[in-house]
């Protein structure tokens, strides 16, 4: 293949990468061509820059021209809203003319997806780089961080599917959303959560610095402490993955697991916190299932309940 042909091929691959339609094979070819011809990457950067600016511009508009730090005077904001209104009218016209339904929820990660049900004490929301007070009924957007500081206080968040999270004092979580997956990143402290049964293709992912847990409908407690992250399952079953070695385990009702950066210190044990009795009226399934997945768990000790 001549250089011109390779460049033409690279152009096609850039289109696929920018539009996120590239297959694994195409990505590999893209990397090989970029390695062979470092000058080709300028083409990619040019495309990605405009793509990124357009995505940023749109997200800023969707979020109400304020969530990305954009400062406008009151007059400026009116101006922006006129632009947004005009944009919406234009978008609707384009949609009608092209026979395509407007899916305004496509960028669902910029739409409020959870609400603060109760907040007392020092509860704040970090959103768009700014910290502000949390109040009951305040809507939360993907990427927002909820904090409860001080020695007392708590906040309860409810998702649209009815799932509920309680955040005690000195705890911080980031709530985000990606491709049907609602993500809770525990930065500090602990939380209790009851998750409604999820529709096919939807799930919750709990992420801590030590590991992650995928939940489809259950009640659990997650505590991030000095030793690592403790995941206590009250009802249902949770699949956890430890980041340090990718080991996975299914944790069932009334069991807990400690995820840390030590490969040999993770135990699956009966939960010390009988949240099950509190949340499920004593219907915890007991120590029935404790199913390990894969062969990478040789170093995870398991202990039967006494």
């Amino acid at each position: 293949m001549s250089i011109a042909e390779q460049e033409a091929r690279f152009t096609l691959l850039v289109m696929a990468v920018v539009e996120a339609t590239a297959t694994a094979k195409e990505l590999s070819e893209f990397r090989e061509l970029m390695r062979a011809h470092p000058e080709f990457k300028l083409q990619y950067l040019e495309q990605m820059k405009i793509h990124g600016l357009m995505r940023y511009r749109q997200e800023m508009r969707n979020a109400g021209a304020g969530r990305y730090f954009r400062r406008s005077s009151v007059i400026g904001q009116v101006h922006v809203w006129w632009k947004v209104a005009a944009g919406l009218v234009a978008a609707a016209l384009i949609a009608v003319l092209s026979g395509v339904a407007v899916n305004v929820c496509r960028y669902s990660n910029t739409v409020a997806f959870a609400t603060i049900e109760t907040a007392y004490g020092e509860v704040s929301v970090f959103s768009g780089g700014k910290t502000s007070e949390a109040w009951e009924g305040r809507q939360l957007y993907a990427g927002d961080e909820l904090s409860v500081s001080g020695s007392s206080g708590a906040a309860c968040v409810v998702w649209k599917d009815g799932s509920r999270l309680t955040l005690p004092a000195v705890s911080r979580v980031v709530l985000s959303l990606s491709k049907g997956e609602k993500r809770i990143t525990l930065l500090a402290g602990a939380f209790d959560a009851t998750f409604s049964k999820q529709l096919p293709g939807e799930s919750y992912m709990i992420v801590t610095p030590d590991g992650r847990a995928k939940v489809l409908g259950t009640t659990i407690t997650v505590i991030r402490g000095l030793r690592g992250t403790e995941v206590s399952v009250v009802q249902g079953r949770v699949r956890v993955e430890r980041f340090v070695d990718g080991a996975e385990a299914d944790v069932s009702s009334r069991y807990e697991v400690l995820l840390s950066d030590q490969k040999n210190s993770v135990n699956l044990s009966p939960t010390k916190f009988y949240w099950a009795d509190r949340f499920s009226g004593g219907r915890g399934a007991g120590a029935t299932a404790k199913q390990f997945v894969g062969n990478s768990l040789g170093n995870i000790a398991q202990r039967e309940p006494k």
């Binding site: 539009e19 990397r31 990619y44 990124g52 995505r55 990305y68 944009g87 491709k179």
Partner: protein, 185 residues
Amino acid sequence: MIMTKETIRDGKQKEGVFDEELTRSQSDLFVYISALMGNAEVARDILQETNLLLCREAERYDPARPFLPWARTVAYYQVMSWRKRNYRERLVFDDTLLDEVAASLNEETSLPHAQLDALEGCLKKLPERMRSLFEARYAQGLRVDKLASACGRAPNVVAASLYRIRQLLSACVEDATGGKNYVNR
């Protein structure tokens, strides 16, 4: 440290400068992260994490030094951290290529917020047909296959049109901001 009126005032001024710089750098950081990831979908989450870290490190910020290189360095490490956490995801670049892309991005000289303002002007200069297609792609979030079926054209033709529009906009934005033109044409 004894808090005098001067130190409080200086602290507030520093905070104000930091705030302003962070505000101005958002679009740049978003583009920077998108380009490093080869994916704008996850850029938002990483930008949020970057902002979080920058706010936590605000005390260390020295207003006498340029903000953007510092913020980009933080963003770069957040990208690396995301890659480490999500090693099972399909990544566009390996570590070596990622460094090369980051080096090229760091050569960018135009002011970040100016690019976004310039883009608005450049979009207006596009022929109506091109602008409609581009707005449908980004304002409505329609993907290439949907656009192709709506326009009655082949997906690769639509992808090529979008590619060409991005090229035109890039040249226009660079002209308007006096920044680096990636590709000479």
